[in-house]
Symmetry: C2
Subunit: 309 residues, 2 copies
């Protein structure tokens, strides 16, 4: 295939795109917006519990993906930031509930005590509920300069992403699969496309919807997001085997202890790495027509394959 | 005050308004819509758990209030039914989570085993999450013939009603107050206006918003709903003392056992009954300008004060 000047230009720019600087700038924007999104009301304890987990750091990958895609399609950060915050509220809620004793029973998350270890199980359940409800309220009331019908599409998408067709369904199958030694790659992929992939896809797609993306754009963005989502999970599984607890900020080797099926346990480390690589290459291939405007999304895809924590 | 012919006519009609028939008809409509709203997908267990509690009966008071108000303001049942279902999904989610061992630890609800007793704590938490998320998705995608900006207002209202400013905040203060013997009427009212009142108010107000109610209408409807919400709770407390377990379909005298503050424990039975009566009278006074069109809302207010289960 002969490359056009634009494509070569885009590739040259790719090699100098400063993802670290981009992440730093966007993360700052997101942290500031999250902090502002939720002030302390009455009763204080529930707001403190919600803020404890919402402001516990993390990569803020989902909000950043939403901002990046909105800009790619020609929107402004202002159009996307309330939805970006809503995505992080939803992600935080899913972590709080997943960590509960009745679920994965985790004591630490991102190097800090989990929500229920600090505030108790009852408050942790309610903090999750509160964050989930607030995500919808916040996106619905704070989004500016976006037509109402687009915003409704985003809200519908967020709802589908969390529910039984998304996060919740993935978590149920994950719980059902625990301790089973005969999990197929198909089941494992169902779990991950629902539990992790759905929200990453919603992050990418909602940024596009807010900016007025065409159905063709949405199809490309969906494919990009599905691929980086699955690659993200494969790399997560690989890191659980190869990284140290210090690098992860959570207990390493936990999947092995819990006898959880993982891609490395099904495929071995080498095939897992190869699959992740292929998924990322296909993801990047979706972005060709956007030329240099897609540099942040390209760099994020490459970051997923090279991260060590 | 001299009454007009219309007012006298409305009063005469009030005495013959058949609330039982109205409830039966609307409840049928709601039951059918709820059943249709959620079909079984994969993994089956989570859909079964969601359906188990969503279709467990109950008065369907919140959806009926939403339908009644929408019609009062001139809307059609079709405009309101998706939001009516969403309100019941939210109500069901709050019951599932409230019943959990980490919260009120209830084994029975509406005469049936609670969700976690049948499906386990993990699935019960996720069924609640799934219903909450689906409520927003369902209202956003299924509502027809309503302008998008009105629907966004309804979604924002639903979010606020569930979150820390509503149900969640009320439940936290309720949990914090348990076992304390010095709860004030002010605190008790905060708990109830948030835990029960907020969703009843959202039910009434959202029906109005969908139909295009004016700010004046919304103010009247809010006051009506706040009053019947608080009266509803006072009567609930009274029934916990005076009704039998069979009538309630749940353990009677439970508040007393749990040393929960109630209106009868603060005010005594007689003053509690009088307060409920006054609240209902004030609620009905808000409806005067709507004349006979408000008969269903008037009859519902009267039903709340006379119900025995």
């Amino acid at each position: 295939m002969v490359q056009t000047d634009e494509q070569l230009g885009a590739q040259k720019k790719a090699s100098v795109f400063n993802l670290e600087g981009y992440f730093k700038e966007k993360k700052q924007l997101v942290e500031k917006a999250l902090d502002k999104s939720l002030s302390i009301g009455q009763p204080e304890k529930i707001y403190e519990a919600m803020r404890y987990s919402l402001l516990a750091g993390g990569k803020r990958l989902r909000p950043i993906l939403c901002l990046a895609t909105c800009e790619l399609i020609g929107g402004t950060p202002e159009m996307a930031i309330p939805t970006a915050c809503a995505l992080e509220m939803i992600h935080t809620m899913s972590l709080i509930h997943d960590d509960l004793p009745a679920m994965d029973n985790d004591d630490y998350r991102r190097g800090k005590l989990t929500n229920h270890k600090v505030f108790g199980e009852d408050i942790a359940i309610l903090a999750g509920d509160g964050l989930l409800a607030y995500a919808f309220e916040y996106a619905a009331t704070q989004t500016k300069n976006v037509p109402a019908d687009r915003l409704l599409q985003v809200i519908a998408r967020l709802g589908r992403t969390v529910g039984a067709e998304g996060l919740v369904g993935g978590q149920v199958l994950d719980l059902e699969s625990e301790g089973k030694t005969n999990i197929s790659a198909e089941t494992l992929t169902f779990i991950h496309t629902h539990k992790t992939g759905a929200l990453l896809e919603a992050s990418v797609v909602s940024g596009g919807i807010l900016a007025g993306a065409s159905p063709e754009d949405i199809a490309k963005l969906s494919k990009y997001a599905q691929n980086i989502g699955l690659a993200f999970q494969i790399i997560d599984d690989i890191l659980d085997v190869t990284a140290t607890a210090e690098q992860l900020g959570k207990t390493a080797g936990k999947d092995l202890q819990a006898q959880k099926a993982t891609y490395p346990s099904l495929w071995g480390l080498e095939k897992s790495k190869l699959q992740a690589r292929q998924l990322i290459d296909e993801a990047i291939a979706q972005l060709t027509i956007y030329e240099e405007k897609a540099e942040p999304l390209r760099a994020i895809a490459k970051f997923i394959i090279t991260r060590n924590h």
